[in-house]
Amino acid sequence: MTDPDEAAEPMPDDWILDAVRRRMDRAAERVDPRPLFGRITRTVHPAPAVPAGRAWPRWLGPTLTMATAVGLVLLGGWFFEPAHGHAGPRELLAAVQEVHRLPIDRCYLVECRRSPNAPDPFPNAPLLQTSRLWTRGDRFFLVPGDGRIGRAWGRDENGNLWIAPTPRAGVRVESREIPAALATTLDMHTLRVDQVLGDVLQHFDLTEVEAADEGLSGSETVRAVPRRGAFTFLRWATLEVDRETKVLRRLVIARGPFGKAPSITTYTLVETRALETARYSLEGHLREPFEVYTRQHQPERWLGELRKMYGPMADRWFGPK
């Protein structure tokens, strides 16, 4: 790496470079590469996809609104009864669903590899995006995982969508103003474990798989494949569950319409702790003095910020009626 000419040149303060080099060596010695190596390989080589080609009425997709999905979750209890031949994984996931209905704060590292062919209402998002997602029941918020600041966004306890582009200004969209297409997309881009599991329990065939080499110890892994004729955004899913606590440790989901390359999203549980309730609200991400834009207050700035987030679709969804 070093140019020969440069190497021959005397360095008057080589001891400084020596100190920096030794410090770097010691820091590198302390790094256990295995966890990050696992994250990288799972992102680059996600769990193998299952054969596609199942009939999927595409028109049903956009109509699957958040409310409908919640309804499916409520109806999901019908399917808790162990299915013939798949009693183990089905019971396991039902237990996981119950655990995740508890109002406990969990943080997942979200690694989303978006399909370049799939339509996406987040036109400015890179193909590979890393975020940290905090969830508590049906509330959530996302903060960028690569150090970007000011792009926190989430959904509060009232179902309102909020965006905090800077600590001094925020955007609030009331739940009744969220169009169905966006509501569905929000569900696709975030993780409501109870909802995902409801969908999986209802529409998927489940198989328990042997713990892979890279799997976490003390966990059970379930592979989920949609049943023939099932309407769902999920193409396949792999769920890794803590054997003792029944907490979902890792979830890999392939989403998107059949016939196109799916978006692969990996959720890895990284933290569980009590979080201030305010963190799930817009105000919890702002600092005084701040201003909150709504359709009624500063509507032009409100729409401007939504355009930054959703691109041209913002005008269709939130423009003047």
């Binding site: 790496m1 400084i16 410090r23 820091a27 590198a28 992102t43 590979l128 150090g147 970007r148």
Partner: protein, 182 residues
């Protein structure tokens, strides 16, 4: 073993071998372990997605450190632009640069070494990010041309950054010079 498996094994070996130093470098620049790990992961993934275009086992580390340097600097600039004071939260991981095996040294030597480590951490932490990156890349053995490419500056500018960083550190660490050169 098929060619594809062989390539995968070679790439895995490259990632495993280069990962510790990449993580240490990123953590030193951004001073936040979680953020650094995310940046490292993103840079590796971007390279691995283009594994067919490069000879990563041969050139990957240079490409990786170029991408990583830029990612860390971009992240820092975005953070400054956001007017957040997250960067001022202090340095939560100063202790991570302690000795790898403290038992190898006598207690007084450990104390001296820790003092040097702390002073070096402090001095590096107060350098502008580009100077810190330039100096650490230099410490990793990169040429001036490679450092200039990573920082997207001219070679003469890269040389100036390294010179200034070394001057600053030399002034701050002079009391420890004997320990370093020993």
């Amino acid at each position: 073993m098929t060619a594809a498996k062989s390539m995968t094994a070679a790439l895995d070996a490259w990632v495993l071998a280069s990962l510790p130093r990449a993580v240490a470098f990123a953590r030193s620049l951004v001073r936040d372990d979680a953020t650094a790990d995310d940046l490292v992961q993103e840079c590796y993934c971007k390279l691995l997605y283009k594994a067919g275009e490069y000879d990563l086992p041969r050139d990957g580390t240079r490409l990786l450190f170029t991408a990583l340097t830029r990612a860390c600097i971009d992240r820092s600039r975005r953070q400054r632009a956001s007017s957040l004071d997250t960067l001022l939260d202090g340095d939560p991981n100063d202790s991570q640069f302690g000795m790898a095996d403290p038992r190898a040294l006598a207690p007084e030597a450990i104390a001296q070494q820790n003092e040097l480590e702390a002073a070096l951490d402090d001095a590096l932490g107060q350098l502008p990010l580009t100077q810190r990156a330039a100096l650490e890349l230099k410490g990793l053995g990169y040429s001036l041309r490679e450092i200039a490419q990573a920082l997207d500056v001219s070679e003469s500018n890269a040389g100036v950054l390294i010179y200034r960083a070394r001057q600053t550190l030399a002034g701050r660490l002079m009391p420890y010079r004997d320990e370093v050169v020993r």
